[in-house]
Symmetry: D2
Subunit: 247 residues, 4 copies
């Protein structure tokens, strides 16, 4: 099997403006996320790209050479160009995997693939999050156990404005009384999409062992099986047709 090519995309803004974020992620969140994947999948080819690069680092060539893309963004969703969003969406529909992280629920890419609001409740406070593994046979939840806890995280609460997931893997419990569908999958075209809730920038979440494990599992799971460009062909009949219309 050829090596899995993973591209970790980061908005890369908070790290430079908020000292608390910088403290957790001095090299940028994308580097921490990429490091976690490299650690779990030493055979994978893992690279990074950011908003600030030309084409946000997501040229046609780069995307064609990507099997699975992970996406984290928060405050600069609006700065992502519509052309790049459409390019990413089309690559997913052709077969590329996409892992959507935390506040990227509001990214243009995720919203374009879901078609819905992707809205939710939120609170930055002192909640603990406990993620229950409700699909322990799924490749994404291997090695996770019945549940895992994140001592401090932003709260996201239902209702979450998404289409019904094809598979619901994690449901979160929060101290403050809310629940959330925290890990969910959808096929979109020939590609696979996984949304994973944890990862607010002011917490060290992407250093958490089980968060890293889930992301690495998801990257493996989302590996493309095919790459099929879009077409809407005029198709000849496979069986004899009557010579003229029945009236």
């Amino acid at each position: 099997m050829t090596k899995l090519r993973v591209l970790v995309w980061g908005e890369n803004v908070h790290e430079h403006t908020n000292p608390a974020v910088h403290a957790h992620y001095p090299e940028g969140m994308h580097h921490t996320i990429a490091g976690g994947i490299r650690e779990a999948l030493p055979d994978a080819m893992v690279s990074t790209a950011t908003l600030q690069e030309p084409d946000h680092g997501l040229t046609d060539e780069r995307l064609k050479a990507t099997d699975v893309l992970t996406w984290w963004g928060h405050k600069a969703h609006g700065e992502v160009s519509d052309a790049v969003v459409e390019r990413v969406r089309q690559r997913v529909l052709e077969g590329m995997g996409l892992i959507v992280l935390h506040s990227a629920h509001y990214s243009k890419v995720f919203k374009a693939l879901m078609g819905t609001t992707c809205s939710l409740k939120w609170r930055e406070a002192t909640d603990k999050e406990r993620l229950w593994n409700i699909l322990p046979s799924h490749p994404i939840s291997q090695g996770i156990g019945e549940y895992f806890e994140i001592p401090a995280e932003e709260m996201y609460g239902e209702p979450f404005g998404i289409p019904t997931p094809d598979e619901l893997i994690f449901i979160s419990w929060f101290t403050g009384g809310e629940v959330f569908r925290s890990g969910a999958t959808w096929r979109r075209g020939h590609g696979r999409v996984f949304y994973f809730r944890p990862g607010h920038e002011t917490y060290p979440t992407y250093h958490h062992a089980q968060v890293k494990r889930v992301i690495a599992n998801a990257v493996t799971w989302a590996r493309p099986t095919v790459s099929i460009p879009d077409s809407c062909p005029n198709a000849a009949a496979l069986e004899p047709l009557p010579s003229r219309l029945t009236s």
Copy 2:
């Protein structure tokens, strides 16, 4: 219960340029579709709108006063303004029902709600179509029987580039050897979407008794239960939180 307010939207182009279409639909396809709904649902308030009207007849006020919108378009998808598309999409997410007819699989509205290519195979020839009712308990297939036939229709074939439907109601058999998921539903936000395959402009399909029945059933089924505007609120905790973060 208040009266169901149905708005039948038509592209209204072929009727004026193709004599074969004009022959079947001298008043326009939208009028025939609207007439079928009125016949089946005499208590409903059924009106029409077309591409050529200001805002394509789909102002905010008009959409707010609409419970269920039906959409037929084909050659002029590109002429529908993006602002109107976004307005319609938001109304569906708030709760309005949407019935997507035939070549409107490629309408901007349907593609925006699905997030996928919505592509398919097609052929204009001499196929017969037989629609099998695979969900006879569904409100949309009431009164339809095990199957029904359309003596002549354009062929649409799989693969159809849609997300997995929430409910698959009809599968079509075509003389030329193809099959197609011809009737399917999706929830999108608080609204319900039904795609129904038949209805190529050069055939008298919207005069067909069972096609009219399915559309009227679908309009009834798609009636809104709620109207909830989008929001992404900061939510106070419902349970006591610790005064400071656990480290």
Copy 3:
């Protein structure tokens, strides 16, 4: 529309052996549940049946005259006869609605329709339950609001051994740290099944306004659209077949 015929089935054991249960439900849990439905749906014909009656009150005639059956059982699942279970299962597959309450997750009827373990975690302690409404447009969650609370209930926790629901309506939060898919629907044959979690016998849950509302909504939603007996017919061809096999 003819009157909706609802049959409320109760195991009717705890009420006679446990004073705490008797205190909440002096006439039996089934009478309280039936009373809640009558209050919300004054036009419905609501009757009751219990384990102790001949055929547990579920003869062929009775089931044929039932549109929607609600089922509560706990300690006497094993005393329900297999013949009655099969009779109920077949009526659901023909079109009858079934509302499965709380500990009936382990009833023979629910297990036979699901095919899975239907197991879960549980705890009788001092938990509060908060049910989040994640599908506010569903007929079953009308009038419920964003969430509702039950001050004291038995805890049920994930993983819940069910097939993926067709629709997930409620997710519960418990004080002790668990979550649960508390309201879920499945089509089975031509019938509709709703599982609703609350209702441990030692709490006054079936007197709770929103619990009563959900059950009444579910009964209305589960109303049959058809009644189709099982068959596996030899079917003549609808199109010409070749006179002999292609080799």
Copy 4:
């Protein structure tokens, strides 16, 4: 990775009573099916078992040592013991994969896992079957192309009495005018189930290259990820509970 252990179960009756079946499958259908899997998956350990063996060859030990079970039966479904059916069902719920072939739609095992009638239309005549691949990114449809044809097969037609599949992979077109959901998957507990339509005993279907490919793909896809026995535990709270109930 350890070797995949596949067990091919065959009813093994028609082969001994019908010369036409014997001619296609002189060693028994199960040996032909097993041979096709061995050919595609040379590293797998593939064995067979039949109805006539003690416990039908499906003892606890044998099933515990099985990763994926394939099942073909037709005229002797009623001779399969209920104890063995329950044993197989439990192993699937624990994680074992199950591939259900053709007339095994009516096997006790499949019906127990689905909970529904599993009925369908059928015809033994001169139909051609064309299976359309509607999910080309699925592991089961790799290498299959847009469709494949079986020159002569028994017809199975809709409606098919199954729960909505988690994934619908193939839809069949038949000469005589019917369609059928011919390849579909369901999770049941921790196990994966695939139903595959082709394979009437009087045709050489299990010698067909693409049929063999689909079965081998399915066997690989259904490999267990976990083996989790059923339990319904009393669970201690993970968070502090109030000392007494709120009234």
